[in-house]
């Protein structure tokens, strides 16, 4: 675990010494701010003219998952692809580092960065809490953020696995994004009532989020789903690194 932590810490710090980290932070917070601002104006109009209740945390948490789907490929693309392209992987793999420690360390570093990113977005629910009367229901906020953390863990693990597959960061980015969009749309592939619908819906990572965590429910099935996708991604990443050794 010590090795994992050393690698994670370095990876986490690298986000703050390279433009990618700042760019993702800036864009994420900026676009989220625009969306929240827009929703607030609408909600204000509704409540003034039609007496609708004040907006809940959903106007913040709703768009956050979508933004993560586009941000995470940018965070994971370089993790292993860059090491392979520059050849630094060779030094890491000839140090006493197990393959899984490397993969998990990379993933953990990126996860910590996402934790920081999500923590920064808390200003929006806080602002909402101060702007509305009688304030925010914090239940859905807590479950929503827990859900976002779980989704991030899973998506990051898949991103790390894809990054292990490529030497080119651009290729890693494109394939990761395509994979996310595929998993995001997968349940719409099924025609209603068909036997495959249940399976496809289960594989859809958005589905687990929006039907439970987003609504203030912590669903065990969702937790298991995200944790198993995380484990799967890390396992596949490790296997790919291991196979690199065999292929040379």
């Amino acid at each position: 675990m010590r090795t994992v932590w050393i690698i994670a810490r370095r990876e986490f710090r690298r986000y703050f010494t390279s433009p990618v980290g700042y760019l993702v932070l800036f864009l994420y917070l900026f676009i989220l701010g625009l969306i929240v601002n827009n929703s607030l104006q609408q909600a204000y109009a509704f409540s003034v003219f039609q007496g609708a209740p004040p907006p809940g945390a959903d106007i913040v948490i709703g768009p956050m998952l979508t933004l993560l789907v586009f941000s995470i490929p940018a965070l994971t693309m370089r993790l292993l692809a860059e090491e392979q392209a520059s050849g630094t992987l060779e030094l890491l793999l000839t140090a006493p580092v197990r393959d899984w420690e490397l993969v998990v360390g990379k993933w953990l570093g990126a996860f910590l960065f996402v934790v920081v990113l999500l923590a920064l977005t808390l200003i929006y629910p806080l602002a909402l809490h101060l702007l509305t009367e009688p304030g925010l229901d914090w239940g859905p906020v807590i479950s929503g953020y827990l859900g976002l953390l779980l989704v991030s863990a899973a998506l990051l693990a898949l991103g790390v696995a894809v990054s292990a597959l490529f030497r080119s960061q651009v290729a890693a980015f494109v394939v990761t994004l395509a994979l996310f969009l595929f998993l995001w749309m997968i349940s719409s592939l099924a025609s209603a009532g068909s036997p495959s619908e249940g399976v496809l819906r289960y594989l859809d990572f958005g589905h687990h989020f929006y039907t439970s965590f987003f609504r203030g429910v912590i669903d065990l099935q969702g937790v298991v789903y995200y944790l198993s996708v995380t484990a799967f991604g890390l396992f596949v990443g490790t296997v790919i690194i291991e196979s690199r050794r065999w292929r040379g």
């Binding site: 090795t3 050393i6 050849g87 630094t88 030094l91 890491l92 000839t94 006493p96 050794r245 040379g248």
Partner: protein, 339 residues
Amino acid sequence: MIKARGLTKYYGRRLAIDHLTFEAHKGEIVGFLGPNGAGKTTTMRILTGYMPPSDGDAWVAGYHVVDESLEVRRRVGYLPENVALYDDMTVWDYLRFMGQLRQVPDLDERIAEVLERVNLLERSESFIGSLSRGMRQRVGLAQAILHRPEVLILDEPTMGLDPAQRVEVRDLIREIGQEHTVMLSTHILSEAQELCDRVLIINEGRILAEDTPEELELRLRGAQRVRLQVSGPASAAELQTRLAALPGVLQVHAADAQHLEVELAPDAGRDLRPVLARAVLDAGYDLHEMCTVSLSLEDIFLQLIREEGASDQEAAAAEPSATTEAASSHPASEADEEA
């Protein structure tokens, strides 16, 4: 310290190294000499635990490179061919990172010590990306010796350096070699001769010869070639036959009407150049120029490959059951044990 038995590696269907057997002992600097693509890097990557061999076994510091890979990696310092480093880290941070991964005790003191040794202490806060090629090489070396490894494996440690830097790095390797077992690869003959206690010549994945540098040099000097520029009453072709008749002369080859190339026997025992000069003059020719053509690395390989071909045939004819035992104990001529 390093023991390899029948190491073989295939990349797909391409054979990269073919049954390599060799040893390196404690406190010894062993050189891998061969052209690019000979299998040097592959061999080193196997020894450092980066990748497993397709066949055969190797032990480093007493541990098996595949079964006890982690133990091997703890005891090996490695400088890869292209010294890939993290450009966005400072020298100090980079060494801290590698030192932490290798669990080096009293890390900060050790880093200062190592940087002092590679003469980079004043650049410790520089970003690696801003360093010159020679400095990067030294950072790579610092990283390799940071954890006081028992075995040091250096892949082309002086490649891409200017002559001054080359001397610097060589001095450093020689110094390190007094305490560690060092295995280095190079395609520069003089470097191998200068640095190594023993040299393995490798080509197309096979060890062609294993020699001490002295013996290697002897072999080189043996195959001396001399170029003559002459002019005279007749064409040089006539002189050719006269020179070829001299004792110690193996072959005379006429490059054109004025130039002759003379190959001298390895064991002539004395310098034959004055004899050649006199023979030219006695024949009524003028001698304009005489120079020794030193054998290039390529020539040596060609020669060794030829020798290998011949010895293979001999071995097949005389001793069909050649064993693969301890090639290193016969430093003399053909150490290549594969019949």
